[in-house]
Symmetry: C2
Subunit: 660 residues, 2 copies
Amino acid sequence: MAGKIGLNVTQICLPRECTEDEIIEEVLKLNEDPRVHGVYLHLPPASLTSRVLNTLRPEKDMSGVGPLTAALRMQNVVQSSSRWAQGQQYRPWTLRSLKLQPLSPVPSDIEISRAQTPKPVDQLAQEIGLLQEETEAYGRTKAKVRLSLLDRLREQPDGKYVLVAGITPTPLGEGKSTVVIGLVQALSAHLKLNSFACLRQPSQGPTFGVKGGAAGGGYAQVIPMEEFNLHLTGDIHAITAANNLVAAAIDARMLHEATQKDKALYSRLVPSVNGVRRFSPIQIARLRRLGISEIDPSALMPQEVSSFVRLDLDPAKVTWQRVVDTNDRFLRKITVGQASTEKGHVRETQFDIAVASEIMAILALADGLGDMKTRLGRMVVGSSRSGQPVTAEDLGVSGALAVLMKDAIKPTLMQTLEGSPVFVHAGPFANIAHGNSSVLADKLALKLVGEDGFVVTEAGFGADIGMEKFFNIKCRASGLRPNVVVLVATVRALKMHGGGPNVLLNAVPCHHWARGGRGSVELAQAVKQAGSQPSHFQFLYSQETPIVEKIRMIAQKVYGADDIELSPEAQAKIDYYNQQGYGKLPICMAKTHLSLSHLPEKKGTPTGFTLPIRDIRASIGAGFIYPLVGTMSTMPGLPTRPCFYDIDLDPVTEEITGLF
Amino acid sequence: MAGKIGLNVTQICLPRECTEDEIIEEVLKLNEDPRVHGVYLHLPPASLTSRVLNTLRPEKDMSGVGPLTAALRMQNVVQSSSRWAQGQQYRPWTLRSLKLQPLSPVPSDIEISRAQTPKPVDQLAQEIGLLQEETEAYGRTKAKVRLSLLDRLREQPDGKYVLVAGITPTPLGEGKSTVVIGLVQALSAHLKLNSFACLRQPSQGPTFGVKGGAAGGGYAQVIPMEEFNLHLTGDIHAITAANNLVAAAIDARMLHEATQKDKALYSRLVPSVNGVRRFSPIQIARLRRLGISEIDPSALMPQEVSSFVRLDLDPAKVTWQRVVDTNDRFLRKITVGQASTEKGHVRETQFDIAVASEIMAILALADGLGDMKTRLGRMVVGSSRSGQPVTAEDLGVSGALAVLMKDAIKPTLMQTLEGSPVFVHAGPFANIAHGNSSVLADKLALKLVGEDGFVVTEAGFGADIGMEKFFNIKCRASGLRPNVVVLVATVRALKMHGGGPNVLLNAVPCHHWARGGRGSVELAQAVKQAGSQPSHFQFLYSQETPIVEKIRMIAQKVYGADDIELSPEAQAKIDYYNQQGYGKLPICMAKTHLSLSHLPEKKGTPTGFTLPIRDIRASIGAGFIYPLVGTMSTMPGLPTRPCFYDIDLDPVTEEITGLF
């Protein structure tokens, strides 16, 4: 009935006068003793000779480490031997729930968050079956999870995949994130089912502008909410750095090409290092695209040199923008290059909010490190004067981008107020991009919960935008299929949205905001029930369908439009994209979320309208084409009284106030 | 001679049919049993009732946690009881050195870095006497260290404080950072003395531009060098976010003031929430500065309302710039506000590299969270049309800045190739700011090494700039005094530089680049010897000296100038700063580092020149005045072939190439 767990660690503490040989003799004995799992060399520094150190078997060497590290190493040994078994076997988690005692009236979000002490994240990781080497803690409450997990659990069947979508937010902020968290709290803490929430990382811009926090609300929150809402584990900062490196490379390259002859450019781009000139692998990739098979720099023909060194970007056709994660309206349209050092090469451009970067969309859709790197390299940043697309790889920057993004690709593990696991990962803009959290987070979570578990993920904006894009872009990229959809507000057009997963209308009452998971138990039971039904998902359109037909199908079947109307610019872009071989990409509509139509004031289910397509753009790295229905702002502003007026930090207690 | 370390943890595994009372009876027994240190409640979920959970003593409760966490908790109990003793007592560390086997010829920096496996950072933290709750791991190889350490070790005497400064970098990159690291490797791994290196965090901009890595070089490096050179723990990203929030607030505020009447501004700045209007604490601070004691919003006189709501910033006198951590030359001079939504309020401005932000200088000089917050609030961002300085606190943004910077203030612990501890913290620009690593990192390190230990820190640029600023700005702010100065290159003007610490001229041969710490043992012995001598440090000038005299003393005594010559702009600024009460701030010269004079081509020890002071600026938050001697570029550019061409990531092995 009671078992004991012991670690057998031995110390060598010899008297000072011991000779080196005596110590080594002792070490050799301990090396061979199977009862001794580890050895401390607790010796005076002078006795720690390299002979002594080299005699002790590395796997037994605990020198200079404390009992904790020793325990940790033992644990590693035990873990590695049982890893295979763990990988193959589904087990319900022994998840320790955090108890909630909801107050009435419900306090502010930050007060609720602060009143709960989160579990150490390494404990949470262990509870849900992560191995120690699969996590990288960032402080006490956040950890990145390594993608190697997908290999280990390759044979594990996926859990049930639940999408939470919605039309309109409700008052008091019980929106979709709050439903996701309340539902997962109910599933895990109350129904004791393995379950995981997957959320988007919020942009820091609105946090200091108008919106406040985005970690759920009331008694359905991710904690600590301030960690969720601030830098998190730096992914958006990495995106900003990567995005702006591309931008700096574009303008610098245009300047260098404009001010140097072919020969000078070539001798700088392919310099002689210790008498040897050679192309870098990134440059060889460009040569391949140009159809040049020669890899000896001295053997290129002058015409080949010229096409190699000149991207010949048309300044008027650069589509890449700089980004900041700040609501800075004065950067919506700017002129750059006005210092005398830039020799008159001024250009009008703009900054977007960081989450509108194509790199964010790539992070959300990538399937792994290799896939992300490929997508980063093929991002189109503009076109040449002769109309050829110019990519990030042409700029030579694709490897550096992958290096900048190598940690961002790992989802961040956090927890709900009741101690259930949450992945926070990626948060692409929901209008010009697809507005969903990452494919990788969903995949990792589906493996971790196992066959009888649930992963609840969220689609941004309304069902006409977030859910449609979830189905036709995210699921297409990931190969995953949803089992259940929870709709936060009723919507008649639902059955038009691309397929036939089980639909659960939220007539089911939810009180998670005021009561936490206990308030969502009925919803959780309904989801569990719905998850056991077969699902008949299908895409709204085939990738093979021509671009214009794909747009028409979304406009007619999802929005209820009579037809679409293409501007001449839009028609010209379609022709160009077809010519470039982009015709098979899925469609990511950039449309207002305030109406099913293009007119924000048209509420309900408008009919009798024609959807105007003003222009069409493409995110070739992310892998979609985005028609613009009206004007989309990609940079929010600050109001007269931004919410930062209320945000403060007590320097003694380190407590934050004013995030809500 | 051999001792055993055991943890006694008991599991309760009852058969399913047990009643709640039977379980509780068992728990009560274990509660009282002193031989049982922890209990696992390994029970079916239905038996885990709140009565059961509440019966088990919290300190024995190991439910849902594995043996590792159990060990960890035990460790905590032991630690808390011995904390007081630890705090009071100096002990040589039992630091486990990593063995080096230097190759010849010396491989590339990234190859050397990758060939060495760093100790887990929690192990390093434990070895140097940090308590578990004092560190926050960021992955396996980096950890932030909490400032609470300063309280715990308040009574601990400081170690010896060693400054490494230099005039000119040597070929092959054996610059100052490399000397710092080689010296600390020698002190700790070879002389077995507690010792710590304190380095600046490098800007990511040059990493992808011309410079490559900045983690030392050869066999004297911080590892993993790619972690050091990339995002680290996000401090520069936090600075960028904070800096740009101020910038966005400035332009948005000017727009709102220009387009709204007093009453509208007031009703938005102090809105009625549930029928109640009240000032936020940040607004009350502004009222105080305006001399308004009233705190009832309805009781302000119209004139008071007007002066409260109008910062009345003069667009031509905004001194705050936006920043990015990218070498983006096209942002050196830009026009913002050109979108129609900004209603014609265009303005010329610029972006600086992030490390040139005043917030970086504040991070480097702050003495704690409270001090940092105060400095952030008093940063002057421009002046009003009537000539009054406008601060970050006037904009209402000071609390938000402190929130954004709350983690950045904790230094990051890493290690050298030989396993010695390194703090990486802050990296202010060395021309317009003071170019030294942080005061807090030095203070934490001095406590950790203890009385007989050594902290080796570095001053940027040459002795005329970095070392002069180290003495007169950093030491003045910190209250610390150096015991030893190591000069990487000989310099005759040394004795002019502000004081009399023991000077050690590097005639002592060093081979750390090729051989690691073993190559610097002679230097280490010399430093140890010098550290035992008394030091007679004094400042070059008193704070009370008038601004113009302080500038003249630096020009004459450090640079060897005959005199200084002030432009009319510079003279006007001095008058203005005196009038605003800034006259007692120390001086941070913005001068070329390529000559002791203002003329980069004058090598050696130039004489017979007059130093021209073109203009003078002030960093009121950081706390210094910086005279401009010539034009200082605050935004580097990208060359024709940036080093990002060689930087790549293998998506399978995750290995980085091309950082050097």
